[in-house]
């Protein structure tokens, strides 16, 4: 039963690799944008937000990348509802809810 879900997870994870490449491009452009005198900005998380398209793209890329495991879990849960695999659904949903609760800080 579990093997049926593999393809969707592989697609999602390959999408993650693509996001990593987007992040490289945005990271490169952002790093080049900062001159050596402002290198300390790299450690200042809040300042990245003010650095234009590269910064926004990077934030978006990182959010997608870090939430991809959670997203894949939700997709797996939906898949298991469709295929009426109740045991797997319970397992996926417990982990997904736990992850959401932890991330939300509850």
């Amino acid at each position: 039963m579990m093997r049926d879900y593999r393809s969707i997870q592989i697609k999602l994870y390959r999408f993650g690799i693509l996001i990593s490449l987007v992040m490289l491009v945005s990271g490169l452009s952002l790093a080049l944008y900062l001159n050596s005198g402002e290198a300390s900005k790299i450690f200042d998380v809040s300042s990245v937000r003010d650095l234009g398209i590269s910064g926004s793209l990077m934030i978006a890329g990182l959010i997608v990348l870090l939430t991809l495991p959670l997203l894949s879990l939700i997709v797996l849960a939906i898949e298991s509802i469709i295929s009426r695999d109740r045991n797997s659904f319970i397992l996926y949903i417990i982990l997904a809810v736990l992850m959401i609760l932890v991330i939300a800080g509850i």
Partner: protein, 281 residues
């Protein structure tokens, strides 16, 4: 530091972390964090959080390959990710509350212990069996699966037992992960192989899959606390994916044990640097 040098340095850190990490079995962050903090001068908590985010990407990239090859047991991965996740939360909050010198010292000691533990794996498994944890009596959750062993070209069936004894070990793995921003692959693999009776190939693939869940949650927690450099992560992620892909494809072809020992010496050197950094602060 010059911008171009900085870009190359962070990319190389990711590459070396991925390459040496996969060669030694320690994982990329165990190598990348000491390089970032003791050589490149990045603050320790920022190094830990950034490496943690980097291994999420590395786990995703490696898992895509392992799932395709049918080596990952998704059900087993989810089961062991549950206790590990709780450990990560405790680990992250412990890190934030601890003095930075203590983290340096603990980091060095943990990395050294993990290297030793990797070598004592067989002994560890023997002790568990001598203790007499009955496989049948503790079978509340049995995960069954099969995979194709390409070297033997046959389908191998496996059963994962002993979920209950694995819970504290996975919590420990999660705690180590959260505290030091590492995947805890050594503990994961030992737990699955030695305690649960999972074949090594499945254990490695499933551990990689689990690391994706725990590192994503851990790095988001660090991010929320303001300890994550997106620029450094963006530069390190492709380097680490490249390094670990190269390392994991070269590793099976390495005939000499000396190569592994050489890389372990590098990992030990970095661990001692962390230890000294903590003692000299």
């Amino acid at each position: 530091m010059d911008t171009l040098v900085m870009i190359i340095a962070y990319f190389l850190t990711g590459f070396l972390g991925g390459f040496i990490g996969s060669m030694t079995g320690l994982g990329g962050a165990s190598i990348a964090t000491p390089i970032l903090s003791t050589i490149l001068g990045v603050p320790l908590r920022l190094s830990i959080a950034t490496s943690f985010a980097t291994i999420t990407a590395n786990s995703i990239a490696s898992s895509a390959r392992y799932i395709l090859e049918g080596l990952t047991s998704i059900r087993l991965g989810i089961l062991i990710a549950l206790p590990a996740l709780l450990g990560v939360v405790v680990g992250v909050y412990t890190n934030i509350s601890l003095d930075i010198r203590i983290i340096y010292i603990l980091y060095g000691l943990t990395t050294i212990s993990l290297i030793i533990l990797g070598h004592l794996k067989t002994w560890f498994g023997r002790v568990f069996r001598i203790e007499g944890i009955s496989i049948k009596r503790l079978d509340l959750f049995i995960v069954r699966g099969d995979y194709i062993d390409r070297s033997e070209n046959r389908n191998i069936h496996f059963e994962a037992h002993n979920y209950i004894p694995a819970i504290p070990l996975m919590m420990l793995s999660g705690f180590i992960g959260g505290l030091f921003g590492i995947g805890g692959g050594v503990v994961n693999v030992i737990t699955m192989e030695m305690v649960m009776g999972v074949p090594i190939k499945v254990a490695v693939a499933t551990s990689t899959y689990v690391i994706g869940y725990i590192s994503s949650v851990g790095s988001i927690l660090y991010w929320k606390k303001g300890f994550l450099s997106m620029v450094i992560a963006s530069l390190m992620i492709p380097g680490m994916i490249l390094g670990s892909t190269l390392g994991s494809s070269l590793m099976p072809r390495m005939r000499s044990q000396y190569v592994r020992i050489l890389f372990e010496a590098v990992a030990l050197f970095l661990a001692f640097r962390m230890l000294l950094e903590g003692l000299s602060h």
